[in-house]
């Protein structure tokens, strides 16, 4: 267990000491305040618009974190053989993957905290500046929404580890992760739209079946209803929130177990 904590701590420091991480941290403090500028252009639902922009920025930087910080970390491990240093401790391959995964996820926490604190402060300012156009407790709704939006990225990070466990290097990892991210981004809203009779009639039945099958295999990145409801302060049913969290956490665990199995069979020589 000590080895696991040491690896988590090492990963945290390895990620946090990179210049891009510090730049990202600094940017996340400023971004909420910059987003107030376009928000001021709107008329009635300014609090909602501000929250939409914050949620979009959250999606953007979480994706950027995975592609520009987590992917290079795993690429170094695979291509430069850094993982062999840990594995000769001795440490099991499964433990190594879990340590790296928890480390990568833990490194998001300081970024998310800075982003949330800065955004909540910006919400306080917005509430006092535009009292009739920003709903009270919007900051609280944003905190809640941020935690929920993080969940699909846990699953996506686990998919990244699954890809990295079997991939030969940087190009493969980036390409496959990008493909998975793209499908996860675009597929759930398309499946929702296919429920519409007019769209369903103009689409071949096998297309719907194929899309549904792909969607079952990949994590559901869509949190559109959650962000829409929270931005308008509409109630979220606790059961559906619980199911949403369970879905992503279990997906992440399953993907990481699969990653461990693939990584154990991998020839690292």
């Amino acid at each position: 267990m000590n080895q696991l904590f040491s690896l988590i701590w090492f990963t945290l420091k390895e990620v946090a000491f990179q210049r891009i991480y510090k730049i990202l941290l600094f940017s996340l403090i400023i971004i909420p305040w910059l987003l107030l500028i376009p928000t001021s252009l709107f008329m009635l639902d300014m609090g909602k618009v501000f929250m939409d922009m914050l949620f979009t920025a959250l999606h953007a930087w979480l994706t950027a974190y995975l592609f520009f910080l987590a992917v290079p970390l795993l690429v170094r491990d695979v291509e430069q053989g850094i993982c062999s240093i840990f594995l000769t401790l001795p440490m099991s391959r499964g433990l190594y993957l879990w340590g790296r995964f928890i480390g990568v996820i833990s490194s998001i926490v300081p970024l998310l905290l800075c982003y949330i604190i800065s955004a909540v402060a910006a919400f306080f300012w917005a509430e006092s500046s535009w009292p009739n156009y920003v709903l009270p407790d919007s900051g609280l709704s944003f905190c809640y929404g941020s935690m929920l939006i993080l969940m699909p990225y846990l699953a996506l990070a686990a998919v990244l580890f699954l890809i990295a466990a079997g991939a030969s290097g940087s190009a493969e990892i980036t390409l496959f992760l990008f493909s998975v991210w793209l499908i996860c981004w675009a597929l759930p809203p398309v499946l929702d739209a296919l429920q519409n009779i007019e769209v369903a009639e103009s689409t071949p039945a096998w297309t719907g079946m194929l899309l549904y099958g792909i969607n079952q295999l990949l994590p559901d990145l869509s949190s559109s209803q959650i962000s829409l409801s929270l931005a308008h302060q509409l109630p979220l049913h606790p059961t559906s929130v619980f199911a949403y969290c369970i879905q992503h956490v279990t997906y992440a665990v399953l993907a990481l177990i699969a990653a461990s199995m693939v990584f154990k069979r991998r020839d690292l020589s």
Binding site: P38, L41, F42, M43, L44, D45, K48, V49, D52, M53, F55, T56, H59, I149, P152, W185, A186, L187, P188, P189, V190, D192, A193, L194, N196, E198, V199, S202, L221, S222, S223, S224, S227, L228, A231, H232, L234
Partner: protein, 248 residues
Amino acid sequence: MPCLLLLLLRWSSNGVTLADMIIRLALIAALIAAIGWGRSNTPPRQEFLPLTTSQWSENHALWHRAWAGPVPAFAADMAVLNIFNIYAQATATPAENREPWWSALKYQLRLGQDMDPYFRDIYRLTEGLLAYEAQDMQEAINILSLSEPYLNSSDPLLVAAFIAHQELKNDVLAIPLAIKAADKPDASPLAVGFASSLIKGQSGCRAALAFLNSRLGSVPEKYQQGIVRRIRKLQEGEECREEIQGLL
């Protein structure tokens, strides 16, 4: 640009002659001048046509939802910003050439409503720009009436009813919209009064009084006084008294 110039100067000052440096400076000055010329001679945006002038359809909605992914509300915000731009371009264009801009405006309003049906700015822009600037009353009524399942506010439906009554002179369309507006949880006395006056014009005083009495129980207490006053006013009115007495 000055930073780039300094960087180039510093880089070029390592072991080069004065003549070389002058040539390089001249080259840099020529490049900067070319950029400036290019920028000043690029046609302004007003001269372009809008990107989308096609009709909104469910297939378009499908693609936009796929593009927006988990942030459809942000796509609605972008549609509103596009509407501001389209309106600015339209007003800068001669009146006879504005049709493509109004088509684009309609498309963006449909897009915004589809992406975030709770977004009040979309309905406000529909009534302000689509109905009274683009003069597309029917489409404005269609978009405003889409607010019914999503908003507690009676405003969009009331405006839709008003446009149908005032601009299209179509009370058959206006009355159901006005009744729906009066049915909203926060329906104001204005919405209830407008609906009752439409019903009175179409079906007479008894129907209007029946409607007002039916509203009494369903509107918040603070709004009931206005309805009671309107019932009394109708009952005391010459026209209504005659109609009710005639029926008796």
